[in-house]
């Protein structure tokens, strides 16, 4: 098996299906990075399952040559939980979108995270409903003009990272579709984490919400509008790496490093194992007031759901022995009718 793995390439994970996303869609980039990363992860295609819900992103499983289920709207986390509980040997990915995971599937999303099932969720966040042609989504920004909000969105948007922290997810990360090197690194780290790995990917819908994340995508601006989280390192950003993030009381603030008044040691150092309250502060950093963090927000080890569930089964078997139907049926009060 291992020799076969060594020769796996991105093409080995390409299915024979034509990809049907709109030309220029950010999904292409995510698919390309996934196919690049899968051989590096080293799990053979037959041990890998992609499960999705409904939406543009959810067509993803058809385009990778692994096992896959294109399920129903919002329910991929539930399908994936059942699969992983009954088949812990499989490597399971959930592909979802902002409507799929946060609106119709919000309940399942939260419960998947808090249970810590060992699988990876990649949420393609484009802040719009694409497949239904342009209605606002739970991550659309206030005031956004869409087909269903001609006067602007009045809902306050959900922040997927904040929700993941609230649900105490053990691995939380964010990347950007066009930042391919970063995206590949984050996907690999998500795959390596034992427990639920949640990755939000800023993804451009060039048809219905073009440029929603241009500040984070454009090479010209992204160094000043995003900040890369690196474990153990201070939060520094900017084209000239002259700005930093400092903790002031229970708030974060931007500080200037250029004049030398603030030292690197005064900055907030990123700790992937930090208290969730601190990670939550990072999740609230929003453009344009703050650079938006990309990278791994949180990465902690906790027993996985299937380990706990299978553990109880194994424990019961070792204590009581393998179940015997005849014994069970004959337990308790019985009586015999003679011929």
């Amino acid at each position: 098996m291992s020799t076969a793995l060594n020769v796996l390439k991105a093409d080995d994970f390409a299915s024979d299906q034509d990809v049907r996303w709109c030309p220029g869609c950010g999904d292409y980039s995510i698919l390309a990075q996934m196919k690049k990363v899968l051989p590096e992860i080293g799990i053979p295609p037959e041990q890998t399952v992609f499960i999705s819900g409904i939406g543009c992103s959810s067509r993803f499983p058809y385009y990778v040559n692994t096992y896959g289920v294109h399920s129903i709207h919002g329910r991929a986390p539930a399908v994936a939980t059942g699969l992983k509980l009954s088949r812990p040997d499989l490597s399971v990915w959930v592909i979802t979108g902002d409507g799929d995971a946060l609106s119709i599937g919000g309940n399942h999303f939260i419960h998947l995270l808090r249970r810590n099932v060992d699988l990876n969720i990649v949420l393609f966040n484009n802040r719009i409903y694409g497949l239904t042609k342009g209605q606002y989504s739970p991550t659309s920004v206030e005031g956004q003009i869409t087909k269903s909000t001609p006067m602007g969105v009045v809902d306050h948007p959900l922040n997927p990272i904040s929700i993941a922290i609230g649900a105490e997810a053990t691995f939380i990360a964010r990347s950007v579709d066009s930042n391919i090197k970063h995206l590949a690194t984050v996907l690999k780290r998500a795959a390596a984490h034992r427990g639920t790995s949640f990755v939000e990917v800023y993804q451009n819908c060039n048809v219905f919400n073009d440029g929603a994340f241009s500040y984070a995508q454009d090479k010209a601006t992204r160094d000043d509008t995003t900040i890369e989280l690196e474990h153990g390192k201070p939060l520094i950003y900017g084209k000239n790496r002259d700005k930093g993030i400092r903790l002031n009381g229970f708030s974060l603030e931007i500080v200037n490093l250029a004049d030398g008044k603030v030292k690197e040691d005064d900055l907030l150092f990123h700790d992937e194992h930090a208290d969730p309250a601190l990670v939550y502060l990072l999740s609230r950093m929003r453009h344009p007031a703050f650079p938006e963090p990309i990278g791994v927000f949180r990465n902690v080890v906790h027993e996985t759901f299937e380990e706990a569930v299978r553990g109880q089964i194994d424990q019961t078997v070792s204590q009581r022995g393998k179940g015997d139907l005849q014994k069970l049926f004959s337990s308790g009060d019985t009586w015999t009718v003679k011929a």
Partner: protein
């Protein structure tokens, strides 16, 4: 305290063929527990038994109110019984609310035992009564035995130094003791139960309850108002070893058996709902059988996780009741499209919406038949009795795996909580359910074809982990064979036809319809589900009365047995009794163009034999004795 049973009564004993008793009290009084004990004891004495627990949805409804009345009815007999009995021989009422809400079912001359200590002004007020029903002249119609149960129990258990509340709680066992004396029931099993339940660490409670039980027995032996007791001899059941079984328990055990027969592990996902939750409780205890129980965040997650397990090659099962099935609807459609085996079990209750959670009804038949978008048929099977739940889920799993589709099993609240003697099967004689997971590619010219079919039109159940068979399934219409997304008009028509034909093919795997009674004649009663016992008893009674009537009880509702139409054609009239407003009747009428007559009731209660018997008599002439009985 010793646990030997008391010596037998010194008063005369009158043997009768069957007894029906109803125990009624507050929902916190332990009536369900007493009923189960009486049932179990009677079964151990060799009687055939049938039960009807009837309780409110509230866990502890306000004490003493009519809304809080909880009841348990049991019939035990020296002959086969299929119902908990129409008319009561005895009613045991622990308070005024229980008495007035149940007295109508006690015929004149019936035995009425009341706890007279609970008929004080405050009790009457709680039951919204201005005068005591015990003072009503109508009481002369009954053999009223007023027992100061509260006082006698407190006196009996005084030696244990219990608090007033704990002492008072023992009075249900006092009542039980009296009932045991009255019907010659052996107390051993209940004494074992008392010491098992209350024994560890607080044996004084166990001893007090035993004392209360024995005191109740002694009370019966002592008072002059009860001149004799009754007894019921053992029934002549099929030889073998029996146990008592409840519907939900049998269902859980049937799932274990189905898994073992097919070499699978049960993946059971559900969300708590009355009256199905006991299946989850039961299965959660059997982890050593490899059972994985998953209490999901909602009904949708439950069915979806079972679908995930099915894709992984395990035995995916989800259970619920009507409201939960409504939520699972979309995912059931997905399972039909994925063509994966799945069991969806609906323990029906009164509807619509939240309806009557603890009461029985058969009104989900059309929901499970048609409650999905698009052309989405699936097989529907219905259990007919508590013990039958064991068989039917195994049949359902056989169908699901042989045809690769989801199968619905209908039970109901009456079956789920009802109990009956169950002939323990010989596990070594259970035949295997053969399942194949392909290992090799079925397409020499390209990728594996997940929707290539066998002679039953079932697709291969290829599972993740198998090299070379990677494939994707989904809810979008797919091309037959390859499973690739297809919006082709001809292909959609073909796939709709195939999915329907697969369901129709189930009839080839199931036995033909049986008829109880003459093979042709004046009236055919068609029944399904939990009304079996009442319908069978009513039909047999009508046959004995010379009526030309037969019973066809349908366990397979979709597809119907292949010979059903032909059977129907041999009778002049068709009567379909249902605890709904005519759902099977609608299916039968549309399928067979027969002018079937309905007998419908939705009161949260099962049919009585009497009402069905009267309906059968109304629809048949009285002079058919000769041919009806001779062709039986």
């Amino acid at each position: 305290m010793s646990t030997e049973s008391l010596s037998s009564t010194e008063k005369p004993v009158k043997f009768v063929s069957g007894i029906t008793v109803r125990l009624v009290g507050d929902s916190g009084d332990g009536m369900q527990l007493l009923g189960q004990q009486l049932t179990n004891t009677s079964a151990l004495l060799g009687n055939d038994v049938a039960t009807f627990p009837d309780f409110p949805a509230e866990i502890r409804a306000p004490r003493g109110t009519r809304a809080g009345v909880s009841g348990f009815q049991v019939q035990f007999a020296s002959h086969e019984v299929h119902t908990p009995g129409d008319t009561l021989d005895a009613l045991v009422a622990m308070n005024p609310a229980a008495l007035v809400t149940n007295l109508a079912d006690l015929p004149k001359g019936g035995l009425l035992i009341v706890n007279e200590d609970s008929f004080e002004d405050k009790d009457l007020k709680l039951a919204k009564l201005s005068t005591s029903p015990l003072e009503d002249p109508a009481m002369e119609n009954y053999r009223l035995i007023k027992v100061p149960m509260t006082r006698l129990t407190k006196e009996a258990v005084a030696e244990f130094g219990l608090g007033s509340k704990d002492a008072d709680r023992c009075k249900n066992f006092f009542a039980m003791g009296l009932v045991y004396w009255l019907y010659g029931r052996n107390m051993d099993a209940t004494l074992r139960f008392i010491h098992g339940k209350f024994g560890a660490g607080k044996s004084v409670i166990a001893d007090a309850n035993e004392k209360a039980l024995r005191s109740g027995w002694a009370f019966g032996e002592t008072i002059e108002a009860l001149g004799h007791s009754y007894n019921v001899e053992a029934a002549k059941l099929t030889p073998g070893t029996y146990r008592n079984i409840m519907g939900n328990q049998a269902l859980a055990w049937g799932l274990l058996a189905a898994a073992q027969r097919s070499g699978k592990e049960v993946f059971y996902a559900s969300y708590p709902i009355t009256p199905a939750s006991d299946i989850l409780h039961e299965l959660a205890r059997y982890k050593n059988f490899g059972v994985c129980t998953f209490q999901a965040e909602d009904e949708i997650a439950a069915v979806c996780s079972a679908i995930g397990a099915a894709y992984g090659g395990q035995m995916g099962v989800t259970t619920s009741s009507g409201p939960g099935i409504a939520l699972k609807t979309e995912a059931m459609g997905l399972a039909i499209m994925l063509e994966l085996p799945l069991l969806v079990i609906d323990v029906q209750r009164g509807g619509p919406s939240t309806g009557l959670p603890t009461k029985t009804e058969q009104a989900d038949l059309l929901q499970v038949m048609f409650g999905r978008n698009g052309e989405a048929p699936l097989p529907v099977l219905a259990a007919r009795s508590p013990g039958d739940c064991f068989e039917i889920v195994q049949e359902a799993w056989m169908l699901a795996t042989q045809l690769m589709l989801p199968v619905v099993v209908l039970s109901d609240g009456y079956i789920a909580n009802g109990a009956e003697p169950w002939l323990i099967p010989d596990v070594s004689k259970l035949s295997p359910i053969k399942i194949e997971h392909p290992q090799g590619n079925n397409n020499p010219n390209g990728p594996f074809k997940p929707y290539l079919r066998n002679e039953l039109l079932a697709r291969p159940w290829a599972i993740p982990g198998t090299p070379g068979l990677m494939h994707r399934v989904g809810g979008i219409e797919k091309e037959d064979g390859t499973g690739n997304i297809s919006y082709d008009p001809e292909n959609h028509q073909k796939m709709v036809n195939i999915r329907a034909q697969k369901v129709a093919n189930a009839a080839k795997l199931l036995p033909p319809q049986q008829v109880v009674g003459p093979q042709s004649g004046e009236l055919l009663v068609l029944s399904w589900g939990g009304t079996y016992g009442a319908c069978l008893t009513a039909v047999q009674k009508a046959q004995e009365a010379g009526r030309s009537v037969a019973l066809a009880h349908i366990r397979y509702l979709n597809p119907f047995p292949s010979n059903l139409g032909e059977i129907i054609s041999r009778y002049e009239k068709v009567l379909i009794p249902e605890l709904n407003m005519g759902q099977l009747r609608m299916l039968i009428r549309s399928r067979y163009l027969v002018d079937a007559v309905g007998y419908n009731k939705v009161k949260g209660k099962p049919f009585t034999v009497t009402e069905l018997f009267e309906k059968i008599c109304e629809m048949t002439k009285s002079s058919h004795r000769s041919n009806a009985v001779s062709t039986k």
